[in-house]
């Protein structure tokens, strides 16, 4: 898997340089990054341009070649940013060590998304936020079929186009607080939160944590 992404790093910026269209939606989502932030799948650092300034961010990616390209973008970021090579399925951070976990077109490429979501849940503090800019399988039969067919060959490049990421988010115990369409029901801007109580469920009597901005460090 790492080799695939090292190879893809060479062409990634050209093939995935569709920020012209997705940029405003990404910016609106990532503006909600608060406190200690873990950005999973930083890639070549294309998304760093959409990070709000002045944040403390740990960016991880499985590919060293991707991180190599991301470093110059990270050095230009007006805030604190650290890049690390790490696997989303086996995070080496302690429990509840982040206030926000963010991803951008990452969960299509993680071999075992359920494990990765469990890890996100673990490293997030109770009430912490999960922000995701992801593409998922469409609920429309025709579009869903097209995505299934595309997956037949994109899978070889490490990307699955037909994942039910929203279900995986819920299964991991997160509560989805908002879901906005970026392109049809395929590219979504998702906000979720880790509950304060057991199994991630927010207690009815608990003070409303949804969307409550976390004080900056």
């Amino acid at each position: 898997m790492t080799t695939v992404w090292d190879l893809r790093a060479r062409f990634y910026d050209v093939c995935e340089g569709s920020d012209l269209r997705r940029g405003p939606s990404k910016k609106a989502l990532l503006r909600d990054m608060r406190g200690r932030i873990l950005f999973v799948g930083v890639g070549t650092g294309l998304d760093i341009l959409h990070f709000p300034p002045g944040r403390t961010i740990v960016g991880i990616d499985i590919s060293e070649a991707m991180l190599l390209k991301a470093r110059h973008r990270a050095s230009a970021y007006p805030g604190r940013m650290v890049l690390l090579r790490a696997d989303a399925q086996k995070l080496k951070f302690p429990d509840a060590s982040f206030d926000t976990v963010a991803t951008s077109c990452t969960m299509c490429s993680v071999p075992d998304p359920a494990r990765a979501f469990d890890e996100f849940y673990r490293v997030l503090r109770p009430g912490g936020r999960l922000l995701m800019f992801e593409h998922v399988r469409s609920h429309n039969r025709l579009l869903g079929l097209a995505l299934d067919m595309m997956t037949l060959w994109t899978r070889w490049g490490g990307t699955e186009m037909n994942r039910d990421t929203l279900s995986s988010v819920r299964t991991a115990g997160f509560r989805i607080t908002s879901c906005t369409s970026v392109f049809l029901d395929i590219i979504l801007s998702i906000r979720a939160t880790k509950g304060l109580g057991a199994q991630g469920e927010i207690q009815a009597s608990a003070p409303a944590p949804i969307g409550t901005p976390t004080p900056q460090p």
Binding site: E16, G17, L20, P24, A146, M150, C179, D185, I202, P213
Partner: protein, 162 residues
């Protein structure tokens, strides 16, 4: 459609309100120019794919081989044309945004050419171009309508639970 959950009785968060405001502003302000640009780009791109796919299918049918291999080969040729055009368009229009609708166009338009041949008709090249254009326009309209329904249903679901 995604089932959006919000805790009953909870009002939209300040950040959600702020983001909705931004979306509206970007639509009304500088975003409207980009919206027209992408609408035009999507339309032109889908028409290009539709025409290229049907012309490719038409050229394969002109070889006058047996029907089934001709259909399979014409589909393959249409898909190849679609992939090349999508890769070229993706840095501007977006990879998924260009790849997914155009794939359906590249599947449907050669099928139309095959259907003509199955019915004993021999469509001319100009007819093939028209068929490709019509299928592409149909897909463009579908994407616009379905896109609006996705946005509104997600909004309604959110409003219902708040």
């Amino acid at each position: 459609m995604a089932n959006v959950i919000r805790r009953r009785g909870a009002s939209p968060s300040p950040s959600d309100r702020r983001n909705e405001g931004t979306r509206k502003n970007s639509k009304d302000g500088s975003g409207s120019g980009w919206r027209v640009f992408f609408l035009t780009g999507d339309f032109a791109f889908l028409v290009c794919v539709g025409v290229a796919a049907t012309v490719a299918a038409h050229m394969v049918h002109a070889l006058e081989w047996a029907f089934v291999p001709t259909c399979l080969l014409s589909m393959g040729a249409a898909m190849a044309a679609q992939i090349v055009l999508s890769v070229m368009a993706s840095p501007i229009l977006g990879s998924i945004e260009s790849m997914v609708p155009s794939m359906i166009v590249a599947m449907a338009s050669p099928m139309a050419i095959c259907a003509f041949h199955l019915a004993g008709q021999e469509p001319s090249r100009s007819m093939a171009i028209v068929v490709g254009g019509v299928v592409a326009m149909g897909m463009f309209v579908f994407v616009q309508i379905y896109g609006r329904s996705c946005v509104s249903s997600l909004r309604k679901e959110r409003a219902k639970v708040t």
